[in-house]
């Protein structure tokens, strides 16, 4: 299924100019304005498509498992869904990374370097999972009980936040800090990354609100409301970021370092 989706997307993006950015930086000043505008527009369009693919992967994770599992539902077999959702979103992100390659890859591309890079990405991902788990416990998640649930929530939230960061920026803490500081964004992609990450966190944060209410609903159980909140936040971020960037495209100026 993933392959099919990838095929469709790959074909639709084949015609898009990949080197607009490099091109624009070499042209002299009078042309820059218009060139940058067109570059931005095409970038925003591509961003929209990639984000739609990510949203699609979230929806796939809801519907695909029900073909294989008998009584699959988000609430009752929540852990399964968490696993599949995280796998699908990671898959989509990796696919996008391989196909679109939004960031300029490093010059050294020996095999050992690539392997080291992948290993470091893995380590970063695991570290972020544990880090988020610790934060959840600090926020009051039970320490001993429901460990698997809490950890899977951490995995899902890092899938929504860390995995796109790793894909776009690589295991490079400096770059992460730059993107998430004020006025540190250098491209449409990074701007979108910033928005989706923050909205995922805010979604998870807001998701904790209904837990103390006495409605006795199945989705109020820890961590379901938080995972749902994070998912909604992620999807909302994916939808909002291209729109927001498009809306503010006149104000946004990216420093090309």
């Amino acid at each position: 299924m993933e392959k099919v989706a990838g095929g469709i997307n790959a074909s639709s993006w084949a015609g898009l100019p990949l080197s607009v950015r490099l091109f624009s930086s070499t042209i002299g000043y009078p042309l820059i304005v218009t060139q940058e505008d067109t570059m931005k527009d095409t970038d925003i369009k591509r961003l929209l498509y990639t984000n739609l693919l990510c949203i699609f992967s979230v929806f796939l994770s809801i519907f695909i498992p029900s073909f294989f599992l008998d009584n699959f539902s988000i609430l009752e077999t929540h852990l399964v869904w968490l696993g599949t959702c995280s796998a699908f979103v990671t898959g989509a992100n990796l696919l996008l990374y391989l196909v679109v390659k939004p960031n300029v890859s490093s010059k050294r591309s020996s095999l050992s370097h690539k392997v080291a890079r992948v290993v470091r990405c893995w380590l970063y991902f695991l570290a972020s999972c544990f880090f988020l788990h610790i934060i959840f416990v600090l926020y009051g998640a039970p320490l001993m009980e429901l460990v698997l649930e809490t950890f899977l929530f951490a995995v899902v939230l890092s899938t929504f936040t860390t995995v796109p960061c790793l894909c776009l920026l690589g295991p490079n803490l400096k770059a992460w800090l730059r993107v998430f500081s004020r006025n540190g964004v250098t491209s449409v992609w990074e701007n979108s990354l910033q928005i989706t990450t923050v909205s995922s966190f805010i979604g998870a944060w807001l998701g904790a609100f209904p837990i103390p209410l006495d409605w006795e609903r199945p989705w109020q159980v820890w961590p379901i409301s938080c995972t749902l909140g994070a998912t909604f936040g992620y999807v909302a971020g994916l939808v909002i970021s291209p729109l927001w960037i498009y809306w503010n495209r006149k104000q946004l100026t990216y420093k090309n370092n």
């Binding site: 934060i135 416990v137 600090l138 926020y139 009051g140 320490l143 800090l177 730059r178 500081s181 004020r182 006025n183 540190g184 944060w205 904790a208 837990i211 103390p212 209410l213 006495d214």
Partner: protein
């Protein structure tokens, strides 16, 4: 009239306290209570009144019924029995109503139409007010005199099946019971089968006197699908068959016994058109009351409308029917048809007992009882009654006797009705007028606060308060006149008692003056805002551009918390809100520290007020800019401030700064698992339970000793030598006190036997508390007299803080001592590594202190439930109960968190900012942030006054909020006093 913003805030909060007090007084009407407590044993019943000679009938009249079955159907509305639904689905009951030996009434329930208060009303005959809850400190047991208690005392055997609220209200009163829970609202079959399944067995046995059945199914159906659902019909048919079963069984038993039995069918409250209940609509308050007994006369073809009576009348009727004394707090009157068939002498006797009880209650609750028409009627009836008995005893059986008797009867019934009415109007109603005046005052103060906020925060810490302006004086007098006119109008027209109207005219007039003065102040503030609106607008745009994440979080968090108070669950679980907020605050602070240390370049000069203050790198060039609004005296201090800042920056390593928010987070997580509080988590095992169990005394002792040591280490650094010694001895005394009362152990005395009250040890500590507080005050005063003695002042403030810490250490239970230690630790860490290096401004620091204070209120195990107040704190070091010190100690023990954080705030701001405006600004912010929740909550509670949980959830929170506001007023006064010394120094 110029006023510092601190003094302005303090006076505003003081006015707000008055407003809240008036509101609370109107919200919780004083209950009608008999002063004689039921524990005093059975009194001799009142004898029959006789003119001249004494009566030969002094004992209580014998019971009228041998057995009583009370069949209570939750949410049974009157038309379910008497209306078309009753005819359709309850044929047997309809037959009994129309043709059988029965009396039917429509009993009116008083709001709140919720099960528990209604059960209380049915069984005590009184109208439970919220003050009862306070008096019982939320113990679910019904402490007032009631029918069940009297029946048990008289040796009646009572059996109960149904809603387990009864079992909680009357523990150990039933010889046999089976409580069903009303928790699963979606179940309406099983819950009733669990009651009915016992019925056959019990009816066959007959070894009981009173049988109570409480059916919940109908209420559950109402909650699910409303009163027009087809399920209602099925349920009514089921109830009808149950009633038939009981009635036939009773009838067959009646033939064997001398006395007949009584079957009561009633509802506790009605059901609104949407199926809920709690409020005061006609559908919710009308319940059927059907009394069935073979003693009653059959009424062939009598289909008139049932009479309207009060729900409270059942208690007196049951008491008379079972031959018991009438409950002392009863305000209901006997249902006369029940005794109609008896002899005249007995009838008169019953009526006399009931009227006497009501008139006694009236005497105890109304000062001018002699003028009450009911009381006059009663005296008259009693005299006539005496004459009648005299004639009767003279064996004068004539028509005259009958005529006189009927006259006495009518007199008694009139007296009963009037007495009952004047007693029940005493309670039952919210005193809307007082509530409205209180709300008006609070809202006016809040508006004034909000209007002056931009002025105080953006410009200078002084305010023009135009109280004496002649333009407004005319308006002021006009408003005052209008208000007085309204007051007179309301007081003369209202029937129920009203607190404000009962006040002396002078006091009521003072309230009116306050209200109108506040109104004028608001108007002038508005005009001032409009006149310099352009300037403000410019400032506002500048300020909004400089909002950092932390500021946004502080604002949104406060607003969110205030809004969350509208949901009962959020009130119950308010601790979760605060824990969540301070955790998020710590994360935001951590992000801020990261940003300022890894990328120090994001602070650009155009961010005016907040941003550059926390940024160390660019501080030197922009500090001038940021303090341009402060008074000129600060200019001379700027250099010193900069030096101290750079020094602080150099002294603390970067990693300590980065790690400190995480340390705070870990502390909060540990504290959270110390005490489980709230409603949902209260039953979960927590660390404090583990510690307080007797097996773990050694651990508790170790932990307490460790906490005391940590407290000493953290507090001693700022004290003078004398205070250090006093503090050490005091903390030692705290441990000795806990050892003396046998909670902790000395290592050299593993099993102490002599457990005392620890009076000596506790007083020993009190001496040191007072000593340290005295030293601190002396230092403060010295700093005021000897100018430019800045250091003495700081030491004095810290000593006052440490005196409060010592008192808190004494009052908190040993397992809560870690809370105190962690609180001091967090204060130290935040001061050293976050507030000082990051240069938060006074407003931010104030809000953070407030948040932490609130969180620590819950960390020590408090909740919004009255049951969690630790009353034992009030007895520390007192031989006997003394009201004033005990109240003070209990309040301090409960509000340790907010008070300590506020006192730390005073110290921190005094030691930090050398300009006085910071402190008065902080005082203003503190007052504002405390009064916003109170004002909002008062409005919320008024609109939710018929909510299902008004008594159990919202009212206790209202009391907590009121008390918190009072403490805030005290804190603001201290703020202002401290600030005053500074001004005089300058």
């Amino acid at each position: 009239m110029r006023l510092g913003s601190g003094a302005f805030a303090a006076s505003c909060v003081a006015i707000e306290v008055i407003g809240v007090a008036i509101f609370i007084r109107g919200f919780f009407p004083a209950p009608v209570r008999s002063s004689a407590r039921p524990e005093h044993g059975a009194e001799t019943p009142a004898p029959e009144p006789v003119a001249g000679v004494s009566s030969n009938w002094t004992k209580l009249p014998p019971p009228l019924f041998s057995k009583v079955v009370i069949m209570l159907i939750d949410a049974l509305r009157d038309d379910f029995v008497f209306g078309s639904k009753g005819v359709k689905y309850m044929p047997y009951t309809t037959y009994l109503v129309e043709k059988g030996a029965s009396h039917s009434f429509v009993a009116e329930a008083k709001p709140p139409t919720v099960t528990m208060p209604r059960i209380k009303a049915l069984m005590t005959g009184s109208l439970p007010g919220f003050v009862d809850v306070i008096r019982n400190l939320n113990s679910p047991v019904l402490l007032e005199d009631n029918v069940i208690r009297q029946a048990k005392a008289a040796g009646k055997r009572i059996i109960f099946y149904g809603d387990e609220t009864w079992v909680k209200l009357f523990p150990k009163h039933f010889v046999e019971y089976d409580g069903t829970t009303s928790f699963f609202v979606s179940d309406y079959i099983e819950v009733d089968n669990n009651v009915t399944r016992h019925l056959d067995k019990v009816l066959r046995r007959g070894d009981w006197d009173v049988l109570i059945l409480h059916y919940l199914g109908l209420d559950h159906i109402g909650h699910i699908s409303g009163p027009n659902s087809p399920l209602i019909g099925h349920k009514l048919s089921e109830m009808d068959s149950v009633l038939m079963k009981i009635h036939t069984s009773l009838l067959s038993k009646d033939r064997e016994t001398l006395l007949p039995s009584l079957l009561v069918l009633c509802g506790d409250h009605g059901m609104s058109e949407t199926g809920s209940h709690g409020a005061s609509s006609t559908e919710e308050v009308s319940t059927p009351l059907l009394l069935i007994s073979s003693a009653f006369e059959r009424k062939p073809g009598d289909v008139r409308h049932p009479k309207h009576v009060q729900q409270t009348d059942l208690a007196a009727t049951l008491a008379i029917g079972l031959g018991l004394p009438i409950p002392k707090d009863n305000v209901g009157s006997l249902l006369f048809p029940v005794i109609e068939g008896k002899q005249m002498r007995e009838q008169l006797r019953f009526l006399h007992l009931n009227t006497l009880q009501l008139s006694k209650l009236l005497q105890e609750n109304i000062p001018a009882y002699e003028k009450d028409p009911g009381f006059e009627q009663f005296k008259m009836a009693e005299r006539l009654h005496g004459n009648w008995v005299k004639l009767h005893l003279e064996e004068n059986h004539s028509d005259i006797l009958l005529g006189l008797g009927t006259k006495v009867l009518r007199q008694y019934l009139g007296a009963l009705k009037t007495l009952s009415q004047s007693l029940s109007t005493q309670v039952a109603h919210y005193d809307i007028y007082s509530m409205a005046v209180g709300t008006l005052m609070v809202l006016e103060v809040l508006t004034l606060f909000l209007l002056s906020t931009p002025h105080v925060l953006c410009r200078k810490a002084e305010l023009d308060v135009p109280l004496l302006s002649p333009v407004f004086s005319l308006l002021f007098y006009l408003i005052f006149l209008v208000l007085s006119a309204i007051h007179v109008l309301v007081c003369t027209s209202s029937e129920s008692s009203c607190y404000l109207c009962n006040l002396p005219w002078l006091a009521a007039g003072a309230v009116m003056v306050l209200v109108s003065a506040l109104f004028c102040a608001i108007l002038s503030a508005l005009i001032r805002m409009v006149t310099d609106g352009t300037l403000l607008r410019k400032n506002a745009t500048v300020a909004s551009s400089g909002w950092s994440e932390v500021n946004l979080l502080l604002l949104l968090g406060t607003v969110g918390h205030v809004l969350s108070l509208g949901a009962s669950s959020f009130v119950e679980e308010e601790h979760q809100t605060w824990y969540f907020l301070i955790n998020t605050l710590c994360l935001a602070l951590s992000q801020e520290t990261c940003r300022s240390y890894f990328l120090g370049d994001d602070c650009e000069p155009q961010h005016h007020f907040q941003v550059e203050q926390k940024c160390v790198n660019v501080l030197a060039c922009t500090l001038q800019d940021s303090t341009s609004c402060s008074t000129p005296e600060s200019e001379s201090d700027t250099a010193g401030k900069r030096a101290s800042l750079l020094e602080a920056h150099r002294s603390c390593k970067w990693w300590t700064v980065l790690a400190s928010p995480w340390l705070v987070l870990i502390c909060c997580r540990l504290l959270r698992s110390l005490n489980q509080t709230g409603v949902q988590g209260a039953h979960r095992p927590d660390f404090s339970h583990w510690l307080t169990s007797s097996d773990h005394k050694v651990h508790l002792s170790g932990l307490a000793a460790l906490s005391l040591v940590v407290i000493f280490i953290l507090v001693q650094k700022g004290c003078s030598l004398v205070s250090k010694v006093a503090l050490a001895l005091g903390l030692l005394g705290v441990f000795c006190y806990r050892a003396a009362i046998g909670i902790v152990l000395f290592p050299w005395q593993p099993d102490n036997k002599g457990i005392s009250k620890g009076i000596t040890e506790a007083r020993f500590v009190y001496v040191f508390v007072l000593g340290i507080l005295f030293t601190g005050t002396k230092d403060l005063l010295k700093a005021q007299v000897i100018a430019a003695d800045f250091k003495t002042k700081i030491v004095g403030l810290w000593e006052i803080h440490s005196g409060l810490v010592l008192l808190a250490a004494l009052l908190l239970r040993p397992h809560n001592l870690p809370v105190l230690a962690f609180s001091l630790l967090i204060q130290t860490v935040m001061t050293k590594f976050i507030w000082k290096p990051l240069r938060h401004d006074a407003a931010e620091v104030t809000v953070m202190h407030y948040w932490f204070g609130q969180a620590f209120f819950y960390f020590q195990g408090n909740s919004n439930n009255i049951a969690t107040i630790d009353i034992s704190a009030g007895c520390v070091g007192l031989e006997t109960y003394m009201e004033v010190p005990a109240t003070f100690l209990t309040v301090f023990g409960t509000y340790v968190g907010p008070v300590l954080w506020a006192s730390h705030l005073v110290y921190f701001l005094s030691s930090e900012g050398n300009n006085g405006s910071a402190l008065s600004r902080a005082c203003f912010c503190y007052a504002l942030i405390c009064s916003v929740p109170v004002a909002t909550y008062i409005v919320l509670v008024t609109s939710l006054r018929y909510h299902l949980f008004i008594w159990s959830v919202f009212s206790p929170k209202l009391l907590y909020e009121g008390m918190h506001l009072l403490i805030t007023a005290a804190i603001c006064a201290v703020f202002t006093a401290t600030n005053q010394t500074r001004h005089s120094r300058a």
